[in-house]
Amino acid sequence: MIIDGAGRLAKGPALLLIVGAALMVSVVSITNGAYPLTAGDILGVLIGDLNDEVARMVLFDVRLPRLILGFLVGAVLAVCGAILQGLFRNPLADPGLIGVSAGASLAAIAVIVLGGTWLGGWLDLAGAWALPIAAFIGGSGTVFLAWRIASRAGHTSVATLLLAGIAINAIAGAGTGLLTFYSSDEELRSLTFWTMGSLGHAAWDDVAMAAPWLLLSLCAAPFLARPLDAFLLGEQVVGHLGYNTDWTKRAAILIAGLGVGAAVAVSGLIGFVGLVVPHLVRHTLGAGHRVVIPASALAGGTLLVGADCLARVVVAPAELPIGLMMALIGGPFFLLLLLRTRIT
């Protein structure tokens, strides 16, 4: 049985399909690039037969960290999107909504523009990691702020959280705009690239710094699956079914804040994954979070790695920013899906 009674893909075959796609995309991602590697080369390097120092370096120091980081970032963005959509009971919610991306950008752009002047001390202190650490603090800090604003006497209002997120987004956007206005040409170029997202500089350092947070948020997310299912029926039902509503909200915000904060810190702003992937998963596999969360993780990672491959190929030897690539393929695809099914 591939299709179940509700006309959806059965869980087993669907999982196999996604895992297959993930493996395929990984192979394509590892073999393609400025220095092409064949599957034979890779096998040779792995078992030590091939004595090609360049191939070895490209594989281990360029392609592999990029693949791992791309997969983790895509998975986290998709999972956090799914969590926040469940929490807000709105299929259109996005990690950007509670201010993570805006806060991270403001901090990152502040480092780019003010690094030579006011924030020189920070640059001396954090060195090469000044930008990602600032982005992480900025991203998770804004989420914390939005959450504090929305909480009163141990109770968090989801509607206020949304409104606080919108206000924080506007304020951070204004700050970003102001910094952009005062930036030099060179700074402008580097901050523009950052806002369009990139996996181009991925190295083991980045993986080591971001992976703990990314993995933490990926591993914690499935524990929220059942209470999030109850959230789909309304906030009060969560309590009726015996779950701790406020604890669930806090955990969801924490997971999304840390996960997206770390993702933005190492890859810049990559939109669309968090919105589209959970949406697609729900309409092919159903809306239960015990399926949506793992399937979104796999599909999100696959999509981002795939988009990264394309971004490297289309304008080779240059690279398109991956955020741009995502919007280029995701936008029309989503529109097509909408026109075909007219999902409300």
Binding site: A6, R226, L232, L233, H240, G242
Partner: protein, 281 residues
């Protein structure tokens, strides 16, 4: 005694909505709570469901103070049907009913889910997505989900239902209320249902509780509560009460064009009918 409410007070935004309310509910009893819009029926139900804080008084469930029950434990014995549940996500009917038993493996929960879908006449909608159902169908699906939660519970069970038949056609209303009555009599469920249909309440309830301005106006057997003076005083309803051979009162509204309570509002009325209405005016 399964539910004991004594001197209960619940405040919303600083205003008392339920005041000094006391009543008891036994296992195997179907109590219908009546009252005009804004009388505090839903607030009372939400207080008993643990959604609103209890400001004063005592509520004990199965001999233990309500607030002291661990969330997980009470969820096995108390199921709540809110007035409205809106589903924006593509969940099927079967998946929603199964949400009533989240912790159970599929093979274990499936027989109960199928039985309840059948009982509430939604089995033919099993694979349909909830957002596409009619209001009455959604209500039956939610009721199946609520019943699934406590279906094979051991020991005391409390059902709190807020207008659980408001969107149903007469045949389904009858079906649901006779099911609730059967659950009370055969399984000993204690059922507290908020309703507006006086005749439905009179026919199926063991006892009625009539709320007015957040207080108990009167309570007792249907023919004790439903009389012309009481209905005029609480609802401003002008109606004739016919006592049927079967022993139930039948309420028939009169057409005399008068709505006393709304025609002459008394500014000195004790409690605000609904705080949001007052703010809006």
């Amino acid at each position: 005694m399964l539910l004991h409410v004594d001197g209960l007070g619940i405040h919303l935004a600083g205003k008392p909505i339920v005041r000094d309310l006391g009543f008891q509910l036994n296992a195997g009893e179907l109590l219908v709570v009546l009252g005009p819009n804004g009388a505090g029926k839903s607030t009372l139900l939400k207080g008993l469901a643990g959604e609103h804080k209890i400001a004063n008084g005592q509520v004990s469930f199965a001999g233990c103070t309500l607030q002291n029950w661990p969330k997980r434990e009470i969820a096995k014995r108390r199921a709540v049907m809110p007035q409205r549940v809106e589903v924006n996500f593509p969940l099927t009917v079967e998946e929603i009913v199964r949400l009533g038993r989240p912790a159970e493996p599929l093979s274990q929960s499936m027989p109960v889910v199928l039985e309840l879908m059948d009982m509430l006449d939604v089995a033919h909608l099993r694979y349909r997505l909830a957002p596409g159902l009619s209001g009455g169908e959604q209500q039956r699906v939610q009721l199946a989900r609520v019943l699934a939660q406590v279906w094979d519970a051991q020991g005391p069970v409390l059902l709190l239902l807020d207008e659980c038949t408001s969107a149903l056609d007469p045949a389904h209303q009858q079906q649901v209320f006779s099911l609730l009555r059967r659950l009370a009599k055969q399984r000993g469920f204690a059922v507290l249902a908020v309703a507006h249909d006086l005749n439905l309440a009179a026919r199926f309830a063991d006892r009625l509780l009539l709320l007015h301005h957040g207080q108990c106006y009167t309570s007792g057997q249907p023919f004790e509560v439903l009389n012309e003076t009481v209905l005029a005083a609480v609802y401003g309803l002008s109606a004739r009460i016919i006592k049927l051979e079967e022993g139930y009162p039948l309420v028939v509204p009169r057409d005399d064009g008068q709505v006393p309570a709304y025609a002459s509002p008394s500014p000195s009325s004790t409690a605000p009918v609904n705080p949001s209405c007052l703010q809006a005016s």
